[in-house]
Amino acid sequence: MTDPRDTVLTHALQAEGTFDPGRAPAGIKRIPSGVDGLATEHLVVNIGPQHPSTHGVLRLVAELDGEEVMNVEVAVGYLHRGIEKLGEHRRYHQLGTLMDRGDYVSGIHGELAAALAAEQLLEVEVPPRGQWLRSLMSEVNRIASHLVWFGTFGLDCGAMGQFLYAMREREALLDVLESVTGQRMMFNYVRPGGVLDDITPDAEQKLRTFLRTIDSYLDEHHALLGGNEIFQKRVRGVGVIDRETGLAFGLTGANLRGSGVPYDVRRDKPYAAYTELDFDVPLGATGDAWDRYLVRMEEMRQAARMCRQCIEGLPEGDVMAKVPRVLRPPAGETYACVESPRGELGVHLVADGSDTPYRFHYRAPSLFAMQVLEEILPGHLLADAIMLIGSVDIVLGEIDR
């Protein structure tokens, strides 16, 4: 029986005028035929960069055997804006505007890391109210960021409803952030020396209302998504990152804590007002996607708990230390890190005594979380691979910078 593909090829070659019936078409590698003339081969599929489930512009080159992922390579750089290089031409108090555009889902943390690094160089002491407001806004931003993760993680698993409910809750937090900082995403609120401005009565009242209801809403969200058997089947025991792999890849944040390593910058290298706040660091047991889910859900509760403590305990006083208009830190280098919703976000600054940094580098936790995908994806189904990208919670803005 003639292979139908031969006919197609013959027509193509005839059209080109190069058909020679006596010779097999050159340059065509025919798949070895099986019993019924069909066989399989690995297929290389390019997922992304313009794909909604890659959380931005991540590109995965996946080698598939049927539905199963055999090998995967992550390709990055589609959102590269040269933030580190730009930072070398920005004054110290302008760095926050760049950091906002790194991890754009949790801008406060980026700004805070840059401000802490500049303060270490300048040896500036931030007044207590400024410190507490930093912690408060960080935690507000953390809940908002985790809610985005919660919503989109469900989407990656095929659930839809929780996304809209998560966005509804986040909206309340964005209102608080907008009222305090003036913007909904690119806050430019934390500055070297303190914070831009005090909390507004309107924001305080909105935040109190939010904090009264958040726990019951989180229970509801957890029942809706986490209580769903289909979701549990998909995430339990899938994408296990064990302790050693997590540490070897430099994971931090909920991804590492999901694997049972108790490392939290807020507790281990405290900054802002975290020494005075009471909170627990939730840990996972096995490091699968379900553990990471539970850790993040618990982190939202802990963040809400810290927000309550911050509102109640906010000390009186200035929010900003006296710093000169143009900062010229003495030559030297420093590293400052914060616990962003994605892990340890650090800023390495090298100062040369001028008003701009000599070198500005930042450690983006998502970059490490993304690399671990190459390790954990092989052996999973393609649909699980998409779920696992969601489970490590990456933001491409900070990976590509």
């Binding site: 900082t181 690119m186 200035d318």
Partner: protein, 167 residues
Amino acid sequence: MWGKGILTGMRITMRNMLRGPITVKYPYERLEIPERARWAVVPKYDGEGKPKCTACMACVRACPDHILDLEFTTREDKSKHIERYSYEIGACMMCGLCVEACPFDAIEMSHDYELARLDPAELTYDLLADVDAVPVKRARPAATPKAELARADSSPAELSREEASDE
């Protein structure tokens, strides 16, 4: 038990259905914008409708995007005339650093958020054009600086002198 989670989910969905909408029908309904919201930069005017800018260039230097540009001429009596003060709103990130840097409270972040334009060329325009700058002596620095950040190491008058001398 299989299916229990799904039933719970349906119950929650039903409960949310009864909670009512949180969205508004823009543009028929609009949400209130908070006081501190930062949108397009606009110049401020004094009681007589004259711009308060002294052409000190502090805002131009503060802008991380380098999108403000102020061209002025200095007359013999040292008074300044602003030829144009251009602003490229298409590249503005509404960070507010220019407003904070202004020692004379001469610009502010407006609440105008409908900033789309049909022609890209309209995204660069002049905030001020062909006006006299206020002499620094007459301009009263803002009573409370917008930013605590703007607690300058030099007073506004000094600053402006220093900046004028670099020209």
